[in-house]
Amino acid sequence: MIQQENMTIISHRSIAKDIYELILQGSLTKQMTSPGQFVHIRVTSGSDPLLRRPISICSIDQENGQFTMLYRVSGSGTRVLSEQAAGATVNVLGPLGNGFPVEYLTSGQKALLIGGGIGVPPLYELSKRLTERGIEVTHVLGFQQKDAVFYQDRFEELGKTHIATADGSHGTKGFVTDVIEKLSIEADAYFTCGPSPMLKAVEQSMPEVDGFISMEQRMGCGVGACLACVCQVQGDETGLAYKKVCTDGPVFQSGEVVV
């Protein structure tokens, strides 16, 4: 069931250049079960900015009824959000969408988690779930430059972690696919989230491996009603088959939709 709630800010801090970590508390947390799902955030009670903002669930703490989001300040909505202090409330709608299938792999198998920039956050809860199930996890995380890197230590606690930066200021210089090729990392399945060009490159670089891809799209409602967020199904020539990122996704199996 989808709900909306005014959740309380427990902690709110900058963890990298323009990147904020926001911890929220409320009963909605109970509904959050699948890594890769997202919430739809209302940043003001006024009418500017008007629309909600989709942000991935990065980490769930059922014990304390809290969950964590990481977000980048890029426009008006995230800027307003970043000005909220602990104690204030944020209106959250969710959890929305279908997350990554944690059950797809079994103990002893290998998972490759590939994240780009602000696509990295949902992989954190996913990695926790996979490692809990005894799956061996390798992370390849791409960032713009050194000061944009976040959560490296947390990912390292869960498994091998390779960092790539576009300008080479930290880790390997280049893209995540460069790292994957260079190290010829093997995996029984990959799970990826990030900008479309990255998703496309990842899908093409491992055609023989099963993969799960989290898509981004501009959204209106976030609940499947407005048809803002559609993407096309691969191989559909009519153009009439389509999927909604907000409710059919955001996670799709590789080959399912046109990235």
Binding site: I2, L50, R52, R218, V223, A225, L227, C231, G239, L240
Partner: protein, 313 residues
């Protein structure tokens, strides 16, 4: 009789609040939030003869107190809508207003003739004002003669009353309204979106794939209100008003401007529970003002309705 119940051609409404077309799909998604029978009516997503995929993405962009959309009338087509969506909606005690779109007069006629026979479709809403499709749509909505003719033709085949949805992108909305009245329309719905655009600051290119889109939300409310005010004074047709409605006060404004009922579009995206919330608060507000029926306030921006009621309060 309740404070909020309203009778309109073809429509017996528990209350004058309904989701606007295209902002509520065919109801399924929002039925996860509340019982759709609470609504006055539902204006379903535009239906065309054949299925349509609509426009490329991005299809929406945010603007100051508003949003642009260019969905492009995506829908599964008449047959599918009849067999699936309308059937599914039969479980709810709520009248439907079927939004009909097309590229040619014949398209409108075919869809209207068929969809008006569905048992829960109590009225049609002719979408002659969609800014986001290449053919038809808005062309029908800016030429009074074309609008009159289309209305007349559809009236001949429809089994239920016909409302025409007016476009605000015209020099004189009054002329358009009169033309529809002459064509035999049973009511008007207004307004559809204003044509607008957003550019990406860095590339300078349109954010929306379709380049332009339809502007909706609180930003357009002043324009919508003015148009309802103008049209309600010169036609005798009932008006279902929309444009930026977010709360019960916005509804009161449109009723005061001369509307008989109100539809909520964009606000559903901001708060999925907005319709039931408005219905509840509207009732409370009228009660606290001592107003017996919402139509006691109808048109009071330009007539004396509600004066007594207001002073009594």
């Amino acid at each position: 009789m309740s404070r909020l119940s309203v009778e309109l051609p073809g429509l017996t409404l528990k209350n004058p609040i309904m989701p606007a077309s295209g902002c509520f799909g065919f109801g399924k998604e929002y039925s996860r939030f509340y019982d759709l029978s609470e609504l006055g009516a539902i204006m379903i997503k535009a239906t065309t003869k054949e299925p349509r995929f609509g426009n490329a993405t991005p299809r929406v962009a945010e603007t100051a107190s508003g949003m642009l959309n260019a969905i492009g009338l995506q829908n599964p087509g008449l047959a599918h809508v009849m067999e699936n969506e309308l059937k599914w909606l039969e479980q709810f005690d709520v009248p439907l207003i079927a939004n009909v779109a097309g590229s040619t007069v014949e398209d409108y006629i075919e869809v209207s003739e068929v969809i008006s026979t569905a048992p829960n479709v109590k009225a049609l809403e002719l979408n002659i004002s969609c800014p986001n499709v290449k053919h038809g749509g808005i062309a029908f909505g800016t030429d009074p003669a074309v609008a009159r003719e289309l209305t007349k033709r559809v009236k001949q085949v429809s089994s239920v009353p016909v409302y025409v949805k007016l476009s605000p992108n015209v020099s004189s909305i009054v002329e358009m309204a009169k033309a529809c009245e002459e064509g035999g329309a049973d009511g008007l719905t207004m307004i559809n979106t204003l044509v607008g655009m957003r550019l990406d600051h860095k590339t300078g290119k349109p954010v929306i794939a379709n380049r332009t889109g339809g502007l909706s939300g609180p930003a357009i409310k002043p324009v919508a209100l003015r148009m309802v005010y103008e049209v309600s004074q010169v036609t005798s047709l009932p008006i279902i008003a929309m444009g930026g409605i977010q709360d019960e006060y916005d509804v009161i404004d449109f009723i005061s401007a001369g509307a008989s009922a109100a539809a909520v579009g964009t606000a559903n995206f901001v708060d999925p529970l907005v319709c039931p919330s408005i219905i509840e608060k509207l009732d409370q507000l009228l009660q606290s003002w001592g107003i017996d029926h919402i139509h006691d306030l109808k048109g009071r921006s330009w007539n004396n309705a509600g004066e007594a009621a207001y002073h009594r309060a």
